[in-house]
């Protein structure tokens, strides 16, 4: 399959997942799953009269069209987007379309943009499914048409399909998909089908309703937390207070006395308490006395790490990008601007903390979870239980957000629940629940980074050299996915491909060794590179005495799609026109995951010395807009998510121990923080690219640039709250 913008997808993640995919290649699940938990899975059985032309769609005699999603739905609208693509080519009646989660089966449901393993990430769900689901829908449509042609004795070319009905204009005959389903199932699968021209699209590009919104509004949607199996135990796990510590010894006598506690077991990840419910399990955990072996634990705090990183940033690192001779050009520059940026550990804090349910079934096990990478989760559970991956079946449920948290390289929560079952033995199903404190303090953070930037201007005040050093942990190292150069692409993405035209450019990387497990956090490297690059280009514009939009426009001449969103946002925001009193504007433009986003914000001075953001004008170019309404929703989402992190969020380590615990100290964006957001979508015929992440990177630098325009103060440490306290 070819994509218009192959570079769009994080090469780092793709490479990692190719590596991971090799281990799990060719997995085909031998299980048959028609008997699972009635509430969860009864609907997934194929009926004998159903038409199942391929792995992605099933049409039943009752006219229902069930699209099988190989991607998890954790809010980003994937179920709706995928169903829209398939239903478009099928010419289905949208009101008859349902979506079900695919089982773990990488052979059928691999992600071509993640190296073929089954998983969701890198904003690839729509992009990697685009051709596949169009083909799947068109094939099903052709077989329905063939069935109708045969039944009516007419040629297929005389038939029309619309809203789930095949009709023959000449004779006035009509049949619904359901009426044709059984006959269609006997038709040969066509080798080649014609796809629609985009001008023929009826669903794609329109506002279709979310397929999941009714059941999420009335409480029927089922999350992992909502799984209650007969005789099930609930487990909580006491993890070490410092990352890398292990259990030396423990006393569970008090825990075992707690009414409802059934067992206390040691696992590779800590001590688990199993009980008849969550609260006795938690009370049992609170009663544990554990001596930890901290000889290999990470004991440094955030302040010490910042100091070490800042020293490293003064030294040359691994070469991530070289254009011209940046060192020489800096020496010869008429004016040099310097800045150091600091980025904290960030927790993802999805609304549903991690959880998973496991039970023994026949010769294997079944797991219920918000499984973002089923192939990895399958392997992790198999590893913990000493069985083969194909003995692990996974039911992927709706998940209460993720932002990267559920895509761990070691299948963390699934490994934990499988380890607990292994240690406990017994036949009872087990639900493992993370508390919010476990979530905020449990690691897998967006790592800390320090950036040092130097920019040089020539005698005319024109920027001509860019010199950037990035210091921080490699996310990919644990996966063995860092290339020989040692440059982890996910550490430098968004900086090494700086779009601005510089004659001389150098980007260096220092990988640091820290015992805190890292993870991708919505937009990964772009979370920090967009901030440093877009605020520093603003600093250079200021040094050059040039308007920030004008300078960007001039230096982005070779990047028409960057320019497109910049111009659109500038026009819609009224850039250059008077700002309401007490406010100032700031701009940022950044490409990530194949999509281009510009955001222009208006800020004023708010409470506690922080910016109050009033308005965000966002322009996005993500190729064909499959669902404009969802694209707007994802931009609002990314802006809200990024704004909270920019203003408030950090996990601070003191002597290696996380200091934040819950939403009182790790502050999410609340309703009163949220600005008015307008989203404008660039009209495009390019293949669609991601929207889950690209809205996030520009918001923090846009706010910082507006804050400078308002106050003359540059904020070079996130969150703003910390930077302002340091003023």
């Amino acid at each position: 399959m070819a994509y218009a913008d192959e570079k769009a997808f994080s090469p780092s993640r793709r490479r990692f997942l190719q590596g991971a995919g090799a281990a799990g290649a060719g997995l085909v699940i031998g299980f048959h799953w028609t008997l699972g938990l009635p509430r969860v899975f009864a609907a997934s059985a194929n009926g004998p009269e159903d038409f199942v032309p391929n792995a992605f769609v099933r049409i039943a005699p009752d006219d229902s069209v069930t699209v099988i999603s190989k991607h998890i739905e954790f809010g980003q609208g994937t179920y709706t987007g995928l169903a829209t693509i398939l239903a478009e080519e099928l010419d289905a009646d949208w009101s008859s379309v349902r979506v079900e989660s695919a089982p773990a089966n990488a052979a059928l449901y691999g992600n071509a943009l993640l190296g073929g393993i089954q998983g969701t990430g890198g904003s690839t769900a729509i992009a990697n499914s685009w051709e596949q689901l169009r083909q799947a829908g068109a094939t099903a449509r052709a077989m329905l048409v063939a069935a109708a042609a045969e039944r009516w004795g007419v040629s297929a070319g005389e038939l029309e399909v619309s809203s789930g009905t095949v009709s023959h204009a000449g004779s006035g005959r009509r049949a619904s998909f359901g009426e044709l389903a059984e006959a269609a199932a006997t038709q040969p699968v066509p080798e080649k089908v014609a796809l629609k021209d985009p001008s023929e699209f009826k669903l794609i590009g329109t506002r279709v309703g979310r397929v999941d919104s009714a059941e999420k509004s009335n409480g029927k949607a089922q999350f992992t937390l909502d799984i209650y199996l007969p005789d099930m135990l609930t487990a909580v796990l006491l993890r070490p207070p410092r990352f890398g510590a292990t259990v030396k010894s423990y006393d569970d006598s008090a825990a075992r006395k707690v009414r409802g506690v059934v067992d206390v077991v040691e696992t590779p990840r800590g001590i688990a308490v199993l009980a008849t419910g969550f609260w006795p399990a938690k009370k049992g955990r609170d009663s544990l006395e554990v001596e930890w072996d901290e000889s290999k634990a990470e004991k440094r705090g955030s302040a010490a790490l910042y100091a070490e990183y800042a020293e490293l940033a003064k030294e040359p690192g691994l070469a991530a990008k070289r254009v011209g001779d940046a060192d020489k050009a800096l020496n010869e520059a008429s004016q040099v601007v310097e800045a150091e940026y600091r980025f904290p550990f960030l927790a993802h804090a999805p609304m549903e903390p991690l959880d998973a349910v496991i039970r023994r079934r026949g010769e294997g096990y079944e797991i219920w979870a918000g499984s973002q990478i089923p192939t990895i989760d399958q392997g992790a559970a198999a590893n913990a239980l000493g069985v083969k991956p194909e003995q692990i079946a996974i039911h992927t449920l709706y998940a209460g957000g993720s932002f990267g948290r559920r895509a761990t390289p070691t299948g963390d929560v699934v490994f934990e629940v499988a380890s607990i079952l292994k240690a406990h033995g017994g036949g009872r199903p087990i639900k493992l629940v993370w508390t919010r404190e476990d979530d905020i303090q449990g690691g897998r953070y967006r790592p800390m980074y320090v950036h040092r930037l130097r920019g040089g201007l020539d005698a005319d005040g024109k920027p001509l050299v860019w010199h950037q050093r990035i210091v921080g942990q490699s996310i990919m190292k644990e996966l063995g996915a860092v290339p020989e150069s040692g440059v982890d692409p996910s550490s430098v993405e968004g900086a090494e491909n700086l779009p601005y035209a510089f004659d001389h450019l150098a980007v260096d990387l220092h990988n640091t060794e820290v015992g805190v497990p890292p993870l991708w956090w919505r937009s990964v490297g772009h979370t920090h590179t967009a901030y440093s690059t877009e605020t520093f280009i603003d600093e250079l514009a200021h040094a050059a005495g040039e308007d920030p939009v004008a300078l960007r426009r001039r230096m982005l001449q070779d990047h028409p799609r960057h320019l497109g969103v910049l111009e659109l946002a500038a026009k819609k925001a009224g850039w250059g026109e008077p700002v309401p009193e007490g406010r100032a504007r700031g701009v940022a433009v950044h490409k990530s995951f194949g999509s281009y986003v510009a955001e222009i914000v208006e800020v004023s001075k708010g409470e506690e010395g922080l910016p109050k953001v009033h308005r965000v004008v966002c322009a996005v170019d993500c190729g064909v807009a499959v669902n404009p309404h969802n694209i707007a929703a994802q931009m609002e989402s990314g802006i809200g998510f990024g704004l909270g992190a920019a203003l408030y969020d950090e996990v601070v380590l003191e002597d290696g121990r996380p200091q934040q615990e819950n939403f009182d100290t790790y502050l999410p964006t609340r309703l009163t923080d949220m600005p008015e957001v307008e989203v404008h979508i660039v009209d495009s015929a390019e293949a669609p690219t991601g929207v889950g992440e690209p809205g996030t990177p520009p918001i923090a630098p846009a706010v910082a640039n507006a804050w400078f325009a308002l106050t003359g103060e540059r904020v070079r440490q996130l969150p703003f709250k910390r930077a302002r306290e340091n003023v």
Partner: protein, 156 residues
């Protein structure tokens, strides 16, 4: 201890530990899993239900404190003849949700808001629902949904 209350219009009673929280009772004993748990500390609002007609965070109330009370959860919000309560319908129509985990609490809080602040402005909606956290939507569609839901509830 024995607790008895009316939940979604039906009498419910059970023997529970005295420290049992209302949210635990609803989920573990009555299998009303639409009421979610996001923080266990009363900060996120995912567990919001109605206790005698007023919104409360069910992780901050003991089941025993609801003795004899009328409790309504997201599952009981719509009356028998309607598929969705007008506020639920508005959340569906205006896409006032993404992952959906905070949604039941948000809807329950919004219905209470309409009762206590009929004709609420955008600003009032934002202030009054500030105790409910959503990590996905950026809240824009939630505010739109609440306004529309309030309108179709007729300010009731």
């Amino acid at each position: 201890m024995k607790v008895s209350m009316t939940v979604n219009g039906k009498a419910a009673s059970a023997d529970v530990e005295p420290r049992t929280l209302l949210v635990e009772y609803l989920r573990d004993h009555l299998e009303l899993t639409g009421t979610h748990v996001g923080c266990d500390t009363g900060q996120c609002g995912a567990c919001t239900v109605h206790l005698d007609g007023r919104a409360v965070k069910a992780c901050s109330v003991l089941a025993g404190q609801a003795e004899g009370a009328e409790v309504t959860t997201i599952e009981g919000l719509a009356n028998g003849s309607e598929e969705l309560h007008p506020m639920q319908a508005a959340f569906r129509e205006y896409h006032g949700l993404q992952c959906g985990f905070c949604t039941p609490g948000m809807v329950m809080a919004a219905v209470d808001l309409v009762k206590t602040h009929p004709g609420a402005s955008d600003e009032t909606i934002r202030e009054q629902l500030e105790g409910n956290i959503c990590r996905c939507t950026g809240y824009e569609n939630i505010v739109r949904a609440v306004k529309a839901g309030a309108a179709s509830m007729g300010g009731q």
